[in-house]
């Protein structure tokens, strides 16, 4: 069964450093998403991406964040200058149609020191 994959599974970085989180969505999916979940809190929407551009973003997704689909398979989330409060699990999700169910990857646990 096809699934969303994410790398790395864990990332530790120093405050102020740049990180890139990678996702490979399900191959025939066209809509891509990033979410985050701070420990013990709810899953929060960050951004949706379709047709090589951002379609929606939340207040969390400020100028420090960017997304890219550099080739036909990868979907990345970049945090330019990490802050302590960026420590969280980051989930990628994809769907074939925006009206359909989103399928989530296993997540990347980001720890900013």
């Amino acid at each position: 069964e096809p699934e969303v994959t994410q790398t790395p599974s864990h990332q530790v970085t120093q405050m102020g450093q740049e990180v890139i989180l990678r996702c490979v969505p399900i191959s025939n999916h066209l809509y891509f998403y990033w979410y985050r979940q701070i420990l013990g809190q709810k899953v929060e929407f960050l951004v949706s991406f379709y047709n090589n551009e951002i379609s929606e973003k939340s207040e969390i997704f400020d100028d420090q964040f960017s997304v890219e689909r550099p080739d036909g398979s990868n979907f990345t989330l970049k945090i330019r200058s990490t802050k302590l409060e960026d420590s969280a699990m980051y989930f990628c999700a994809s769907t074939r149609d925006s009206q359909e169910t989103q399928y989530f990857g296993p997540g990347t646990r980001l720890l900013v020191l």
Partner: protein, 109 residues
């Protein structure tokens, strides 16, 4: 403001003891209500999508129902492997999904 509230926050059941989890929501322009299961340190795993009031879906020991204001996830004769956090989420017409905080379910053998 759009909101998803799940109750209870945590639930401990004996194996075989059936129960229901509640998800109440307010959202402008509901496009679907989703139930996910999340194991510790893992991503949400899709269970059900419900689109309209009165709709029901079943999968093994789980059944999800939807009204105009809430959804229930019924668990019949649960087993220890059903222990997880169950997340309810609503999809808005602008493509965003709003999650509830989840119900932590623990089934005792």
């Amino acid at each position: 403001e759009d909101q998803v509230t799940q109750s209870p926050e945590a639930l401990r059941l004996q194996e075989g003891e059936s129960s229901s989890l509640n998800c109440s929501y307010t959202v402008s322009g509901l496009r679907g209500l989703f139930w996910y299961r999340q194991d510790p340190g893992k991503g949400p795993e899709f269970l059900f999508t419900l689109y309209s009031a009165g709709e029901e879906k079943e999968k093994e020991r789980l059944k999800a129902t939807l009204t105009k204001k809430e959804s229930f996830l019924h668990i019949t004769a649960p087993k220890p492997e059903d222990s997880a956090t169950y997340l309810c989420a609503v999809g808005r017409r602008d493509d965003k999904i709003i999650f509830g905080k989840g119900t932590r379910l623990h089934i005792l053998p």
